[in-house]
Amino acid sequence: MNPTAYPTDYKMWRLLAWCGPIFMTIFFFLWGVLAKNLPPAGADLDALQITTHYLDNRMAIIIGMSVCMVGGAFYMPWGCAVSRVMRRIEGPDGILSNLEMMGATITCAPVIVACGIWLTASLEAPQLPPNIVHLLYTLGWMIIDLAYMVTTFQIFAVGVVFLRDKRAKPLMPAWVCWWGFVTCAAFFPVSLIPFFKTGPFAFHGMFNFWIAFFTWYIWVSAVSYYVIKAIRRLEQEDGAVSRSTVSRVGTALAA
Protein backbone atom coordinates (compact mmCIF):
# COMPACT_ATOMS: atom_id res chain seq x y z
CA MET A 1 0.00 0.00 0.00
CA ASN A 2 1.61 3.25 -1.10
CA PRO A 3 0.50 6.05 1.18
CA THR A 4 1.75 8.74 -1.16
CA ALA A 5 -0.13 7.73 -4.36
CA TYR A 6 -3.47 8.99 -3.00
CA PRO A 7 -2.60 10.84 0.17
CA THR A 8 -4.65 9.73 3.16
CA ASP A 9 -6.61 12.48 4.87
CA TYR A 10 -6.02 11.40 8.46
CA LYS A 11 -7.85 14.41 9.88
CA MET A 12 -11.00 13.56 7.98
CA TRP A 13 -10.60 9.91 8.91
CA ARG A 14 -10.42 10.83 12.59
CA LEU A 15 -13.36 13.20 12.25
CA LEU A 16 -15.49 10.42 10.82
CA ALA A 17 -14.37 8.13 13.64
CA TRP A 18 -15.61 10.72 16.13
CA CYS A 19 -19.08 10.41 14.59
CA GLY A 20 -19.50 7.30 16.73
CA PRO A 21 -19.26 9.14 20.05
CA ILE A 22 -21.36 11.95 18.55
CA PHE A 23 -24.06 9.45 17.61
CA MET A 24 -24.12 8.02 21.12
CA THR A 25 -24.17 11.40 22.83
CA ILE A 26 -27.07 12.62 20.70
CA PHE A 27 -29.02 9.46 21.36
CA PHE A 28 -28.34 9.34 25.08
CA PHE A 29 -29.46 12.90 25.67
CA LEU A 30 -32.11 13.46 23.03
CA TRP A 31 -33.67 10.04 22.71
CA GLY A 32 -32.98 8.76 26.19
CA VAL A 33 -33.37 11.77 28.43
CA LEU A 34 -35.37 14.41 26.54
CA ALA A 35 -37.75 12.09 24.70
CA LYS A 36 -38.19 10.03 27.86
CA ASN A 37 -36.90 6.64 26.75
CA LEU A 38 -34.80 5.93 29.81
CA PRO A 39 -36.75 3.90 30.75
CA PRO A 40 -39.26 3.83 27.91
CA ALA A 41 -43.02 3.86 28.39
CA GLY A 42 -43.88 0.20 28.76
CA ALA A 43 -45.35 -2.25 26.30
CA ASP A 44 -48.02 -2.91 28.91
CA LEU A 45 -49.43 0.61 28.85
CA ASP A 46 -52.82 0.99 27.19
CA ALA A 47 -53.79 3.40 24.41
CA LEU A 48 -54.92 6.13 26.81
CA GLN A 49 -51.73 5.94 28.87
CA ILE A 50 -49.51 6.15 25.80
CA THR A 51 -51.50 9.09 24.44
CA THR A 52 -51.18 10.85 27.79
CA HIS A 53 -47.42 10.17 27.68
CA TYR A 54 -47.22 11.90 24.29
CA LEU A 55 -49.45 14.81 25.27
CA ASP A 56 -47.52 15.40 28.48
CA ASN A 57 -44.14 15.42 26.69
CA ARG A 58 -45.19 16.61 23.28
CA MET A 59 -42.64 19.29 22.49
CA ALA A 60 -39.76 17.41 24.14
CA ILE A 61 -40.44 14.32 22.06
CA ILE A 62 -40.89 16.32 18.84
CA ILE A 63 -37.56 18.08 19.31
CA GLY A 64 -35.77 14.99 20.59
CA MET A 65 -36.92 12.73 17.78
CA SER A 66 -36.28 15.34 15.14
CA VAL A 67 -32.67 15.76 16.23
CA CYS A 68 -32.30 11.99 16.48
CA MET A 69 -33.36 11.60 12.85
CA VAL A 70 -30.36 13.77 12.02
CA GLY A 71 -28.16 12.14 14.65
CA GLY A 72 -28.96 8.65 13.44
CA ALA A 73 -27.03 9.38 10.25
CA PHE A 74 -23.77 9.72 12.22
CA TYR A 75 -23.55 5.95 12.61
CA MET A 76 -22.82 5.72 8.88
CA PRO A 77 -19.61 7.82 8.65
CA TRP A 78 -18.43 6.12 11.82
CA GLY A 79 -18.83 2.79 10.04
CA CYS A 80 -16.75 4.13 7.14
CA ALA A 81 -13.94 5.15 9.46
CA VAL A 82 -13.94 1.74 11.18
CA SER A 83 -14.01 -0.01 7.82
CA ARG A 84 -10.94 1.88 6.62
CA VAL A 85 -8.98 0.67 9.67
CA MET A 86 -10.17 -2.86 9.01
CA ARG A 87 -8.83 -2.64 5.45
CA ARG A 88 -5.31 -2.18 6.88
CA ILE A 89 -5.71 -5.70 8.27
CA GLU A 90 -7.86 -7.36 5.63
CA GLY A 91 -6.50 -5.68 2.53
CA PRO A 92 -7.90 -2.81 0.44
CA ASP A 93 -10.93 -4.74 -0.78
CA GLY A 94 -11.64 -6.88 2.29
CA ILE A 95 -15.08 -8.45 2.21
CA LEU A 96 -15.68 -8.10 5.93
CA SER A 97 -14.57 -4.47 5.79
CA ASN A 98 -17.22 -3.99 3.11
CA LEU A 99 -19.81 -5.82 5.19
CA GLU A 100 -19.02 -3.65 8.20
CA MET A 101 -19.51 -0.44 6.25
CA MET A 102 -22.80 -1.66 4.78
CA GLY A 103 -23.99 -2.89 8.16
CA ALA A 104 -23.27 0.47 9.77
CA THR A 105 -25.02 2.30 6.95
CA ILE A 106 -28.17 0.24 6.94
CA THR A 107 -28.36 0.37 10.76
CA CYS A 108 -29.26 4.04 10.29
CA ALA A 109 -32.50 3.04 8.57
CA PRO A 110 -34.50 1.43 11.40
CA VAL A 111 -33.23 4.10 13.79
CA ILE A 112 -34.22 7.04 11.61
CA VAL A 113 -37.54 5.55 10.54
CA ALA A 114 -38.56 4.68 14.12
CA CYS A 115 -37.74 8.18 15.32
CA GLY A 116 -39.80 9.59 12.45
CA ILE A 117 -42.74 7.45 13.48
CA TRP A 118 -42.49 8.53 17.13
CA LEU A 119 -42.11 12.16 16.08
CA THR A 120 -45.31 11.90 14.06
CA ALA A 121 -47.15 10.24 16.93
CA SER A 122 -46.22 13.13 19.17
CA LEU A 123 -47.05 15.74 16.56
CA GLU A 124 -50.49 14.33 15.81
CA ALA A 125 -51.39 13.02 19.28
CA PRO A 126 -53.85 15.83 20.07
CA GLN A 127 -56.10 14.89 17.16
CA LEU A 128 -55.60 11.15 16.76
CA PRO A 129 -57.70 8.41 18.36
CA PRO A 130 -55.67 6.92 21.23
CA ASN A 131 -55.46 3.47 19.66
CA ILE A 132 -53.73 4.99 16.61
CA VAL A 133 -51.21 6.74 18.85
CA HIS A 134 -50.60 3.39 20.56
CA LEU A 135 -50.16 1.74 17.17
CA LEU A 136 -47.51 4.28 16.16
CA TYR A 137 -45.73 3.80 19.45
CA THR A 138 -45.58 0.02 19.04
CA LEU A 139 -44.65 0.33 15.36
CA GLY A 140 -41.59 2.41 16.19
CA TRP A 141 -40.36 -0.15 18.71
CA MET A 142 -40.89 -3.12 16.43
CA ILE A 143 -38.89 -1.44 13.68
CA ILE A 144 -36.01 -0.15 15.79
CA ASP A 145 -35.64 -3.41 17.74
CA LEU A 146 -36.40 -6.30 15.42
CA ALA A 147 -34.03 -5.20 12.65
CA TYR A 148 -31.02 -5.91 14.91
CA MET A 149 -29.51 -8.40 12.47
CA VAL A 150 -28.15 -5.65 10.20
CA THR A 151 -26.11 -4.43 13.16
CA THR A 152 -25.17 -7.97 14.13
CA PHE A 153 -23.43 -8.41 10.77
CA GLN A 154 -21.51 -5.18 11.33
CA ILE A 155 -20.40 -6.24 14.81
CA PHE A 156 -19.47 -9.73 13.60
CA ALA A 157 -17.31 -8.30 10.81
CA VAL A 158 -15.48 -5.97 13.21
CA GLY A 159 -14.82 -8.81 15.67
CA VAL A 160 -13.50 -11.29 13.12
CA VAL A 161 -11.20 -8.86 11.31
CA PHE A 162 -9.64 -7.30 14.38
CA LEU A 163 -9.09 -10.73 15.93
CA ARG A 164 -7.09 -11.63 12.81
CA ASP A 165 -4.75 -8.67 13.30
CA LYS A 166 -1.22 -10.11 13.31
CA ARG A 167 0.51 -7.06 14.73
CA ALA A 168 2.60 -7.53 17.83
CA LYS A 169 0.38 -4.98 19.50
CA PRO A 170 -3.02 -5.35 17.77
CA LEU A 171 -4.95 -2.28 16.69
CA MET A 172 -7.93 -3.41 18.77
CA PRO A 173 -7.67 -5.47 21.97
CA ALA A 174 -9.28 -8.90 21.78
CA TRP A 175 -11.75 -8.19 24.59
CA VAL A 176 -13.51 -5.57 22.47
CA CYS A 177 -14.02 -8.10 19.68
CA TRP A 178 -15.35 -10.65 22.14
CA TRP A 179 -17.60 -8.02 23.74
CA GLY A 180 -18.97 -7.57 20.23
CA PHE A 181 -19.86 -11.26 20.16
CA VAL A 182 -21.55 -10.82 23.55
CA THR A 183 -23.61 -8.00 22.03
CA CYS A 184 -24.55 -10.19 19.06
CA ALA A 185 -25.72 -12.89 21.49
CA ALA A 186 -27.68 -10.33 23.53
CA PHE A 187 -29.51 -9.19 20.39
CA PHE A 188 -31.14 -12.52 19.53
CA PRO A 189 -33.66 -12.62 22.42
CA VAL A 190 -34.91 -9.22 21.17
CA SER A 191 -36.95 -11.23 18.66
CA LEU A 192 -39.24 -12.06 21.59
CA ILE A 193 -40.60 -8.52 21.94
CA PRO A 194 -43.80 -9.09 19.91
CA PHE A 195 -44.83 -11.81 22.35
CA PHE A 196 -44.51 -10.13 25.73
CA LYS A 197 -45.93 -6.93 27.14
CA THR A 198 -44.41 -7.47 30.56
CA GLY A 199 -41.34 -9.11 32.00
CA PRO A 200 -37.70 -9.13 30.95
CA PHE A 201 -38.42 -9.83 27.27
CA ALA A 202 -40.86 -7.00 26.57
CA PHE A 203 -39.30 -4.14 24.59
CA HIS A 204 -38.91 -2.16 27.80
CA GLY A 205 -37.84 -5.22 29.81
CA MET A 206 -34.70 -5.89 31.79
CA PHE A 207 -33.14 -8.03 29.11
CA ASN A 208 -34.45 -6.68 25.81
CA PHE A 209 -34.01 -3.03 26.72
CA TRP A 210 -31.38 -2.60 29.41
CA ILE A 211 -29.06 -5.46 28.52
CA ALA A 212 -29.48 -5.38 24.73
CA PHE A 213 -29.02 -1.61 24.34
CA PHE A 214 -26.26 -1.18 26.89
CA THR A 215 -24.08 -4.04 25.65
CA TRP A 216 -24.28 -2.36 22.22
CA TYR A 217 -23.52 1.09 23.68
CA ILE A 218 -20.43 -0.25 25.45
CA TRP A 219 -19.30 -1.85 22.17
CA VAL A 220 -19.71 1.36 20.15
CA SER A 221 -17.79 3.29 22.83
CA ALA A 222 -14.93 0.80 23.00
CA VAL A 223 -14.61 0.44 19.23
CA SER A 224 -14.68 4.24 18.79
CA TYR A 225 -11.93 4.69 21.36
CA TYR A 226 -9.60 2.13 19.82
CA VAL A 227 -10.32 3.13 16.22
CA ILE A 228 -9.47 6.76 16.95
CA LYS A 229 -6.23 5.60 18.61
CA ALA A 230 -5.53 3.26 15.68
CA ILE A 231 -5.84 6.07 13.14
CA ARG A 232 -3.20 8.10 14.98
CA ARG A 233 -0.96 5.08 15.11
CA LEU A 234 -1.44 4.32 11.40
CA GLU A 235 -0.64 7.94 10.60
CA GLN A 236 2.66 7.63 12.45
CA GLU A 237 3.44 4.27 10.85
CA ASP A 238 2.62 5.56 7.37
CA GLY A 239 4.77 8.63 8.00
CA ALA A 240 7.69 6.47 9.04
CA VAL A 241 7.30 4.31 5.94
CA SER A 242 7.23 7.26 3.53
CA ARG A 243 10.18 8.96 5.28
CA SER A 244 12.21 5.78 4.88
CA THR A 245 11.10 5.51 1.22
CA VAL A 246 12.15 9.11 0.56
CA SER A 247 15.49 8.63 2.25
CA ARG A 248 16.18 5.43 0.31
CA VAL A 249 15.34 7.11 -2.98
CA GLY A 250 17.40 10.12 -2.00
CA THR A 251 20.38 7.95 -1.07
CA ALA A 252 20.09 6.05 -4.35
CA LEU A 253 19.99 9.28 -6.38
CA ALA A 254 22.89 10.76 -4.49
CA ALA A 255 25.06 7.70 -5.11
Binding site: F195, K197, T198, G199
Partner: protein
Protein backbone atom coordinates in the same frame (compact mmCIF):
# COMPACT_ATOMS: atom_id res chain seq x y z
CA UNK B 1 -6.25 -46.41 30.60
CA UNK B 2 -4.32 -43.77 32.50
CA UNK B 3 -6.42 -41.03 30.94
CA UNK B 4 -9.64 -42.47 32.34
CA UNK B 5 -8.17 -42.52 35.84
CA UNK B 6 -7.47 -38.78 35.75
CA UNK B 7 -8.93 -36.30 38.25
CA UNK B 8 -11.45 -35.23 35.60
CA UNK B 9 -13.06 -38.65 35.80
CA UNK B 10 -13.38 -38.45 39.58
CA UNK B 11 -15.01 -35.04 39.21
CA UNK B 12 -17.40 -36.51 36.65
CA UNK B 13 -18.44 -39.34 38.97
CA UNK B 14 -19.10 -36.86 41.78
CA UNK B 15 -21.13 -34.65 39.46
CA UNK B 16 -23.22 -37.55 38.19
CA UNK B 17 -23.91 -38.82 41.73
CA UNK B 18 -24.82 -35.34 42.96
CA UNK B 19 -27.23 -34.98 40.05
CA UNK B 20 -28.95 -38.27 40.81
CA UNK B 21 -29.31 -37.34 44.47
CA UNK B 22 -30.73 -33.91 43.64
CA UNK B 23 -33.08 -35.08 40.95
CA UNK B 24 -34.41 -38.40 42.12
CA UNK B 25 -33.84 -38.67 45.85
CA UNK B 26 -34.06 -35.26 47.56
CA UNK B 27 -37.35 -34.19 45.97
CA UNK B 28 -39.13 -37.10 47.62
CA UNK B 29 -41.85 -36.00 50.01
CA UNK B 30 -40.11 -37.47 53.06
CA UNK B 31 -38.11 -34.27 53.46
CA UNK B 32 -39.83 -30.91 53.95
CA UNK B 33 -39.83 -28.89 50.72
CA UNK B 34 -37.76 -25.95 51.96
CA UNK B 35 -34.96 -28.16 53.26
CA UNK B 36 -34.92 -30.26 50.11
CA UNK B 37 -34.76 -27.25 47.82
CA UNK B 38 -32.06 -25.62 49.93
CA UNK B 39 -29.95 -28.76 49.65
CA UNK B 40 -30.63 -29.02 45.93
CA UNK B 41 -29.47 -25.44 45.40
CA UNK B 42 -26.35 -25.89 47.49
CA UNK B 43 -25.52 -29.08 45.62
CA UNK B 44 -25.98 -27.18 42.34
CA UNK B 45 -23.57 -24.51 43.55
CA UNK B 46 -20.98 -27.16 44.43
CA UNK B 47 -21.43 -28.76 41.01
CA UNK B 48 -20.93 -25.42 39.27
CA UNK B 49 -17.75 -24.84 41.29
CA UNK B 50 -16.46 -28.28 40.35
CA UNK B 51 -17.00 -27.53 36.65
CA UNK B 52 -15.42 -24.07 36.97
CA UNK B 53 -12.39 -25.15 38.98
CA UNK B 54 -11.64 -28.56 37.52
CA UNK B 55 -13.09 -28.82 34.02
CA UNK B 56 -12.49 -25.15 33.21
CA UNK B 57 -9.23 -25.17 35.21
CA UNK B 58 -10.02 -21.94 37.04
CA UNK B 59 -8.30 -23.36 40.12
CA UNK B 60 -5.08 -22.85 38.22
CA UNK B 61 -6.02 -19.50 36.71
CA UNK B 62 -4.87 -16.06 37.86
CA UNK B 63 -6.80 -14.95 40.93
CA UNK B 64 -8.24 -11.89 39.21
CA UNK B 65 -10.08 -14.22 36.85
CA UNK B 66 -11.01 -16.88 39.38
CA UNK B 67 -12.54 -14.57 41.98
CA UNK B 68 -15.33 -13.03 39.85
CA UNK B 69 -16.52 -16.51 38.86
CA UNK B 70 -16.45 -17.78 42.44
CA UNK B 71 -18.35 -14.63 43.38
CA UNK B 72 -20.93 -15.39 40.70
CA UNK B 73 -21.59 -18.78 42.29
CA UNK B 74 -21.87 -17.33 45.78
CA UNK B 75 -24.04 -14.37 44.84
CA UNK B 76 -26.44 -16.17 42.51
CA UNK B 77 -26.91 -19.08 44.94
CA UNK B 78 -27.37 -16.72 47.87
CA UNK B 79 -29.91 -14.56 46.04
CA UNK B 80 -31.86 -17.54 44.69
CA UNK B 81 -31.89 -19.26 48.06
CA UNK B 82 -32.69 -16.03 49.88
CA UNK B 83 -35.65 -15.13 47.68
CA UNK B 84 -36.86 -18.73 47.81
CA UNK B 85 -36.85 -18.89 51.60
CA UNK B 86 -38.38 -15.43 51.92
CA UNK B 87 -41.13 -16.41 49.51
CA UNK B 88 -41.75 -19.65 51.40
CA UNK B 89 -41.98 -17.74 54.68
CA UNK B 90 -44.42 -15.21 53.20
CA UNK B 91 -46.79 -17.74 51.71
CA UNK B 92 -46.60 -19.83 54.87
CA UNK B 93 -47.56 -16.73 56.88
CA UNK B 94 -50.45 -16.04 54.55
CA UNK B 95 -51.85 -19.53 55.00
CA UNK B 96 -51.46 -19.49 58.79
CA UNK B 97 -53.26 -16.14 58.97
CA UNK B 98 -56.20 -17.76 57.24
CA UNK B 99 -55.63 -15.82 54.04
CA UNK B 100 -56.07 -17.87 50.92
CA UNK B 101 -52.99 -18.17 48.75
CA UNK B 102 -53.57 -16.73 45.23
CA UNK B 103 -55.77 -18.75 42.90
CA UNK B 104 -54.16 -21.75 41.33
CA UNK B 105 -55.56 -21.24 37.85
CA UNK B 106 -53.09 -19.76 35.40
CA UNK B 107 -53.49 -15.99 35.41
CA UNK B 108 -55.22 -14.49 32.41
CA UNK B 109 -52.13 -12.97 30.92
CA UNK B 110 -52.11 -9.41 29.71
CA UNK B 111 -49.48 -10.63 27.31
CA UNK B 112 -52.05 -12.72 25.48
CA UNK B 113 -54.11 -9.64 24.63
CA UNK B 114 -52.14 -9.24 21.47
CA UNK B 115 -53.45 -12.51 20.11
Amino acid sequence: MALLLSPASLVWVILMLATCISTWWLPKDAIPAEAAVAFILLIAAIKVRLVLNHFMELARAPLQWRLPFEAWVVVSTAVILGVYLQTAANSGAQVSQGREPPAMTPAVERSTESR
